[in-house]
């Protein structure tokens, strides 16, 4: 390339974790050109994990979760305005206020938003909300402060389960309704999900699995309860809709890029593909909205809604945006995430849903301290720990080296008699919530995306 990669105009669309870390990395790598961050939310970048944990327990204010800056950015911030379109030929980003931002290189980091309750009238009832933004969290914390008689959580993925945990810790009655057979089943499979059922019930959660909410009921504009598919009815003053996330890609509909409901497809170096599968060299993507090929998972495109992935991928994307071809790096990080709920620390490496079997490798479920190891066709593909996070490093290495499944004998705290059992990963379509890891596939019968030209 003839022009100077350390100079020029870079625009980052999305001013959350991935956008901020990419901006910092660009400066760290010596980018001296103009840098603009566009964000739909009015706030400076903030951290989302505490919003479903410490904020709901009153230990931190929703407004206190700002992400610390690692360095000064010398950037233009365009906050409170959303991107509405992209003209890749003219290299212009279109904003909702009519402005057009020219760029030399673009990073897409628009992330996801909460999937709304499908019935808009019911969704508008006072007391019905989703949890994604700091404003959502502030509102939910206020509602919990008012000590409602019962909270309804729709969907028992990680967000729903963490909210239920916070409610119980605050002594509030909570009903969790999940269409799948168990909480967390979409991320961890049915075997570990069965353990999560016992965990939630032991903490006093009114857990209803295999059931859906058919209607949210209102009285004078306020939520009063819900009807369930099994014919039962519950009273509730607050309903938190936790149906997973929707990727913010609609604004790219006419861009000609490979963007759709499953995310924005890119190569291992975070360069975005066009809809014909041809790689661009000036549009990059990182964070929740990206779907990228991963060699550990048979090069299927995967999309990860993980805090750690947002950082790692943003750093790789930023590095590649200012580096010539041979110096570019692939994004190969082994996926990992954590959750804290019901007093436990749950952590994962690899992709548990990319599995056919699981074994309890260490610890015991009774003590609520365990390591579950997942395998796919005889190799280790994931591990999940409960209050045993320090062992993860070992399993990460086994995943990276495609070590045989089940792991060999010898762990000091291996419970005798444990054998591999089916991991029981359900079809994502039977869940209330979208999966936080989406294997978006290269097999044609898997999660096919249909292209529908807009207009």
């Amino acid at each position: 390339m003839s022009f100077d990669l350390k100079d020029g105009r870079i625009v980052i669309v999305g001013a959350s974790l991935a956008g901020l870390r990419a901006a910092e990395t660009l400066r760290e790598k010596g980018f001296t050109g103009s840098l603009t961050l566009v964000g739909e939310e009015p706030e400076l970048p903030y951290d989302r994990p505490p919003l479903s944990k410490a904020v709901l327990l009153g230990r931190a204010g929703a407004e206190d979760c700002g992400l610390p800056g690692r360095r000064s950015l010398d950037a233009h911030w365009r906050l409170g305005v959303r991107a509405t379109g992209l003209d890749p030929e003219a290299r212009r980003l279109l904003l909702a206020d009519g402005e057009q931002l020219p760029y030399d290189r673009l990073l897409i980091a628009t992330g996801t938003r909460a999937r709304p309750w499908p019935n808009p009238e019911e969704a508008a009832l006072d007391g019905v909300l989703t949890l994604r933004t700091s404003q959502d969290a502030a509102r939910l914390a206020r509602l919990l402060d008012a000590r409602p008689h019962r909270v309804l959580v729709v969907g028992a993925g990680f967000t729903g389960s963490e909210i239920a945990s916070a409610c119980r810790e605050r002594g509030l009655d909570v009903t969790v309704v999940e269409r799948g057979r168990a909480p967390l089943i979409g991320a961890l499979g049915g075997t570990v999900g069965a353990w999560a059922i016992r965990l939630q019930r032991a903490h006093g959660v009114d857990l209803r699995c295999g059931v859906t909410v058919t209607a949210l009921l209102g009285r004078n504009g306020r939520l009063s309860g819900a009807e369930l598919s099994d014919g039962s009815r519950i009273d509730a003053e607050v309903a938190v809709v936790c149906l997973g996330a929707v990727r913010n890609t609609e604004w790219l509909a006419d861009s000609g890029l490979a963007a759709g409901p499953r995310g924005v497809a890119c190569d291992a170096g975070c360069r975005v593909f066009t809809m014909y599968g041809i790689v661009t060299d000036d549009v990059f993507v990182a964070g929740d909205v990206a779907r990228f090929p991963h060699p550990l998972f048979e090069y299927q495109l995967i999309a990860l809604e993980h805090w750690g992935n947002a950082i790692a991928q943003a750093e790789v994307a930023a590095h590649n945006m200012v580096s010539p071809g041979p110096r570019r790096r692939p994004h190969l990080a082994v996926p990992s995430f954590w959750s804290s709920q019901f007093g436990l620390n749950i952590k994962s490496v690899g992709v548990p849903t990319f599995s056919d079997q699981v074994i309890l490798a260490q610890g015991s479920p009774g003590e609520r301290r365990l390591v579950a190891v997942y395998g796919y066709r005889g190799r280790i593909t994931a591990a999940v720990t409960v209050d045993r996070a320090k062992w993860l490093e070992h399993y990460r290495h086994l995943i990276e080296t495609a070590a045989p499944f089940p792991p060999g004998p010898g762990a000091a705290d291996h419970l005798a008699g444990q054998e591999p059992v089916p991991s029981d990963v359900p079809d994502p379509r039977v869940l209330s919530h979208g999966p936080t890891v989406a294997l978006t596939g290269h097999l044609p019968d898997w999660r096919l995306t249909l292209l529908r030209p807009a207009g």
């Binding site: 260490q362 320090k390 762990a411 000091a412 291996h414």
Partner: protein, 408 residues
């Protein structure tokens, strides 16, 4: 020389001042089997993998030579969590951690900041205008001892006795064959038992009349994981007292020694005390107070860098060698107080990673900051200084310095 004598040479007291060339020799040969069947590992990646491997035991009862090692010990006596595996290790460590750090007591160490600073200032003031100072006896030793005794609640008048026991226990970690190892182990065992009995007594009085210290809290703990038995309380308190005693002394002393050898780094720290936390991390890499972990053993045959280490064989992880591995750290033999990406093995890693690390860090940061400010200009009087015997907890026995004449 043959690598199967490496461990003998490393533990030879003559090599105490500079074991690093031996560590380089170890790294060159990968995993080194010793003449007695032990395996020595000194490369960063291999050590890290073994520290995180659930098949590697910290309990010497799993070693083939356990009978000989444990001669004279009561097999039913409770062991401290440093010498146990999960799930027992995890349960005991968790019970102790409830009152020491996050998630249940996140502010404990930070709350000691003022106390530690006051003790350090006191000791530094005590140096007065003395021309010749022994960093060990005058400063580095009394500071951590005062801090750990205050934290645990050991009364001041008992501190000398406690120190005598701790010294004997550490002497038991000397591997040099020229003296009677069995005799030393016996003395160490007796000291550990005496210390346990003493702390047990103290805990009993605290159980009746709690005084707000860690020992009182451990004795009266009633969390979801239950309470430590009397035996477990004795072994846990003994462990904390010894570990909190003997390692930080060496870290502080090694710090002064290293800065005396690197005047430009010393000058940078005097000009910019904000650099101290990073300098302490570099110190933990460059001159770690725990040089190797001598008590591990595999619970199954495991492969390390192409060598099979059989189940039950002694497995010695040389942390100080991993810290100098050029494959992990650029220019590993240079002391760089502003080193980036410094994930050293000074506190080990994995489930047994140093329990007291946050305390050791804070103490050393404060100790060196206060000392450098009070000393003015100074220089080392003996280089290398006289070392303690232990090759594991390696550090100078005395470190004489003279004021004036050096850098300030």
């Amino acid at each position: 020389m043959s690598t199967d004598t490496l461990f003998r040479r490393i533990t030879d007291y003559a090599n105490r001042p500079d074991p690093y060339p031996l560590y380089a020799e170890l790294r060159e040969h990968g995993v080194a089997r010793q003449e007695d069947g032990a395996f020595l590992v000194g490369t960063y990646d291999e050590i890290t993998a073994l520290l995180h491997d659930p098949r590697v035991s910290s309990d010497v009862r799993n070693r083939d030579d356990a009978e000989e090692l444990l001669a004279g010990e009561d097999p039913a006596a409770p062991r401290s969590f440093i010498a146990l595996d999960d799930p027992e290790h995890d349960r005991l460590r968790r019970l102790a951690m409830r009152r020491f750090g996050p998630p249940h007591t996140p502010g404990r160490i930070d709350a000691l900041r003022q106390d530690i600073t006051a003790i350090a200032e006191d000791l530094a003031r005590g140096l007065g205008e003395k021309q010749h100072i022994d960093i060990v006896d005058d400063f580095a030793f009394p500071l951590p001892v005062a801090v750990i005794c205050r934290l645990l609640g050991v009364p001041g008048e008992d501190v000398p006795q406690v120190h005598e026991w701790a010294d004997a226990v550490v002497a038991g970690l000397d591997f040099s064959p020229e003296e009677e190892p069995a005799e030393r182990r016996r003395t160490a065992l007796q000291a550990r038992q005496a210390m346990g009995v003493y702390l047990g007594e103290l805990a009993r009085t605290r159980r009746e009349r709690p005084t707000g210290d860690l020992l009182s809290q451990l004795a009266n703990e009633d969390g979801p994981d239950g309470r430590l038995t009397d035996g477990e309380l004795m072994s846990t308190a003994t462990l904390l007292l010894i570990a909190g005693h003997e390692t930080t002394v060496n870290l502080i002393t090694n710090g002064v020694l290293t800065l005396g050898r690197h005047p430009e780094a010393l000058q940078r720290l005097c000009d910019d005390p904000e650099l101290m936390p990073r300098a302490v991390e570099e110190l933990l890499r460059f001159e770690p107070p725990v040089q190797f972990l001598p008590q591990r053993t595999p619970l199954a045959d495991i492969e390390v860098a192409g060598v099979t280490v059989p189940k039950g064989a002694p497995l010695i992880l040389v942390l100080a060698s991993g810290n100098r591995d050029p494959l992990r750290f650029p220019e590993p033999d240079r002391f760089r107080p502003d080193r980036e990406d410094n994930q050293h093995l000074g506190f080990g890693s994995g489930v047994h990673s140093c329990f007291g690390a946050p305390l050791a860090r804070l103490e050393t940061q404060i100790a060196l900051t206060v000392l450098l400010r009070r000393l003015g200009s100074w220089r080392l009087l003996a280089d290398p200084p006289e070392y303690r015997r232990s090759p594991v907890l390696r550090g100078p026995r005395h470190l004489p310095v003279e004021r004036g004449g050096g850098v300030s």
